[in-house]
């Protein structure tokens, strides 16, 4: 379990040869997340979601502001699920799992096999990523993130490249594994129904990288996307999303 504290976080990408303008990806993000919660960060394309996760993961540096992700006073161990599977093509599924582990022992191997079983992939542990379907590869990505026993789970639109049916079954897998561990999770998405199905809390990010809204989701788990209660919350969140879009458009006109 981790605590994430973000204050006035901004990120400006410097101009490059191919795009000679500064790009403001995040324009002062404030948020605090703590406990065994699943938080969805909801925002349209280009609102800085990936940038935010990369900074929390420590693979990108902020321009200004502060980010702290701690667990019992020490930096939190992060498990990251990316937009695409990001597996090493020259390693088998099992060896991809072992790659992120520090010690190589029988126990670590058993743990890897445990999480592969969790996502229904123990049978294919000896295959190479190219021999799996896209959905299976992404399941390996999910298992890998849980394997490092993370204090903080970061997920960057892990299902956006999947077809609807695959995405649906993967969300089920994710719920199952998450309920088993209940790690603090930051889940980035631009899909409202996905956010409502998975999250305890939705942070809405608007273009320019500012938190626009903070919505608690009080629904029992495990959730079924077809449940009327889930549907009605979804409609409510969608309305707020629309009002954000309207506000953004209105703001643009006002300038």
């Amino acid at each position: 379990m981790a605590t994430v504290l973000i204050e006035n976080l901004t990120k400006i990408y410097p101009p490059t040869i191919t795009y000679p303008h500064r790009v403001q990806a995040l324009g002062g993000v404030n948020m605090s997340v703590t406990g065994n919660v699943f938080v969805a960060v909801l925002g349209p394309s280009g609102s800085g979601k990936t940038t935010l996760l990369n900074i929390v993961a420590g693979v990108e540096t902020p321009t200004s502001g502060s980010v702290r992700a701690v667990h019992n006073g020490v930096p939190a161990q992060v498990g990251y699920v990316f937009q695409e599977p990001r597996l090493l093509p020259w390693r088998t599924v099992l060896n991809n799992m072992l790659y992120v582990q520090d010690r190589k022992s029988d126990r670590s191997r058993r743990e890897a096999e445990f999480y592969l079983t969790m996502v229904g992939l123990n049978e294919v542990a000896h295959l190479y990523p190219s021999q799996l379907s896209a959905g299976m590869q992404q399941r390996v990505g999910i298992a890998r993130a849980f394997l490092v026993n993370p204090d903080l789970l970061l997920m960057d639109e892990p299902f956006s490249h999947m077809d609807a049916l695959t995405g649906r079954s993967l969300r089920e897998y994710l719920q199952r594994v998450w309920l088993h561990t209940r790690k603090t999770a930051l889940f980035v998405t631009h899909d409202v129904s996905e956010a409502v199905e998975l999250a305890d809390r939705i942070l809405m990010l608007r273009p320019g990288g500012v938190v626009f809204d903070d919505i608690p989701i009080d629904l029992p788990r495990p959730r079924n996307p077809d449940d009327p209660a889930v549907r009605s919350v979804e409609r409510d969140v969608l309305r707020r999303f629309d009002s954000m879009e309207a506000a953004v458009r209105f703001g643009a006109h006002a300038q």
Partner: protein
Amino acid sequence: MLTVPSVTPDAISALSSREMRRAVMRRWLFRFSVLIGWAAFIGVWYFFSRLVFNPQQLPEPHVVAGESWTLITERDFRTNMQASLVRVLGGFLLAIVISCGLGWLIAYNAWWRTLLRTIVQLVVSTPIVALAILTLVVFGVSSLGPVITTAVVATPYIMMNVAQGLTGVDRRLIVMSESFGRTRSQIIAGVLLPSSLISVLAGARLAFAVAWRMELLTEIFAASEGVGFQIRRSFESYDVRGMIAWTVLFIAVMLIFENLVFRQIERRLQGRTA
């Protein structure tokens, strides 16, 4: 509207067995054409040695084969072939070591990239005969000369491919590794090395072919033992048979080496990442 012809299981299996037969035929045709190629080469050789020149100028294939066999059974063969092989491999390995360092610089440093590209152009466009003679001038008759020159000639090929391999590495895999707390050396061994291996191997193969030709030529000018030296000695004593036999043997050994080592490694790599 589109009509889809109905496909029965029988039709499918008939089709697939026909395709199988075709595939087998094609493979045999392929092997056969390799044989024909060899036969044609030997035929042309006979033609030239009997009708264009005479067997004193260009010995016939079976004479060269006999001479090669005689050479192989002599003690000289082992010492000379070994000397040449050691130099080829020595120069080649030296080239690999240098290439890793320089390839790294080319991939990550614009200044070095420009500098080394220019040098590569110079080396690659210098005739290898000139380099061989230069070796004699600089190193005299020694073992070191051929090794260094071989390395110099082989390095550009491997180096450029090391650089290409490194710049072609998927940045996202490095970000993945960093976010999971992998150390620098773990990332080098786990991501950079394997992902650039295919490109490096392609370069190494080309470099090896250049390396052994260069080494042979250098030996002709600047060595006191080795296959190249033997070719020159045969030449000086008007022994055309010996000259060609040594050449044929060396080419044979190198081709066997190339096919055994490189093709095997390549095959293994491709099977994994295809």
